[in-house]
Symmetry: C3
Subunit: 155 residues, 3 copies
């Protein structure tokens, strides 16, 4: 369990490093081919409502999003900074681990103070692959009621 | 030590999951029967002053608080989200571990932006019980000088 | 690797405990004699520009700073609270480990709400010494564009 736990924490930390650096290839590579990524308001998640702010159903869709981010001109770019709490192991099956991890994302725009952008928890299905641990499913359930302007980058 | 450290981190993460979900039964169950929970301003803690914002002296008092939270009508409910740093091991005795852990709690109210609600550090006495690790004492020493409105939920 | 990882996390947590308590001797002692500490805006770091907000080139310079902090009258003191994410291991050589760790620093002034003061990531060179792990180099690369007033304490 201990060795696994360090590997889980490294996966989580690698996600943060990739997404906050805007390294979208590295970001995509942390997911399995048939992965799922969803960004969901807490209220919808708690009530079982299907509406999601972002929803990707495969690594292909992640790559598409990554392409979109790189190729689109943004007039109002920003930095993101994720700080994660320690992952909680919810369940452990052979080859698959479910975890829950609190997060806070801070946003910094040019010449503006850093703000709390989005907080919540990641619900993850992590699988063991020949290349190491990967996200089979990542659901970011966020508390924050208001998303200032639109979300450009994944959380 | 390593195996212990993962167990300590899991206890900390289970606390966050329980309190942020408002699962007060799960929250109480992370403490020993004769536990202590205190929420104390940093200034008072540093000067040895006894005044605490919250103070519970047993699991019975925690259960009472949990009951109060569930049975009281709140006109202004909010979400909490804890993000913890890595626990620092301060001391290690047989069956008992003292740790210090930085925390930030973010609060989200309906239709309002998420704010930094309370930051500080947990000073914990963690004991090994047949059911796993439990908090014998948790003191949340907070930096934040002003608590916007009143605290409804434990930190 | 696992045992090492716990030691790395303890070093990071000890740094936070020292700096947030204002225990500048403990802070200095987490560095090697010929250490480097730099606080750099992300933009400058990304472009390879040398400008740093703080730059110390030895433990002697850290001790000097610590002396300066203790001996100077501040008319506007504040509390700092660091919350760190899990360290990512970037590279591992014999006796030396490179890590990247997200951080958020919250600032609290007397009778003011706690604010997000500075967020970013630590890029660390950690070495194994007879006294335990120490920082040979810590570079804090911060996203935050504006530093409200001046930085008194190290990040």
């Amino acid at each position: 369990m201990t060795e696994d736990y360090v590997a889980i924490v490294q996966l989580q930390a690698a996600y943060v490093a990739a997404v906050d650096a805007g390294d979208w290839d590295a970001w995509c590579n942390l997911f399995t081919d048939d992965c799922r990524y969803r960004l969901v308001p807490r209220e919808n998640h708690d009530r079982g409502l299907p509406l999601a702010t972002l929803s990707f159903e495969s690594k292909g869709m992640l790559l598409d999003r990554a392409y979109g981010i790189r190729e689109t001109l943004f007039h109002d770019p920003y930095y993101q900074r994720h700080v994660l709490g320690p992952p909680l192991i919810l369940a452990r099956d052979p080859g698959r681990i479910r975890t829950e991890t609190s997060y806070a994302v801070f946003r910094t725009k040019l010449s503006e103070p850093t703000i709390v952008f989005n907080v919540g928890r990641y619900l993850d299905d992590i699988v063991i692959t020949p290349a190491g641990l990967r996200f089979a499913s990542r659901i970011a359930v966020y508390d924050s009621e208001l998303i200032p302007n639109s979300i450009i980058y994944p959380i």
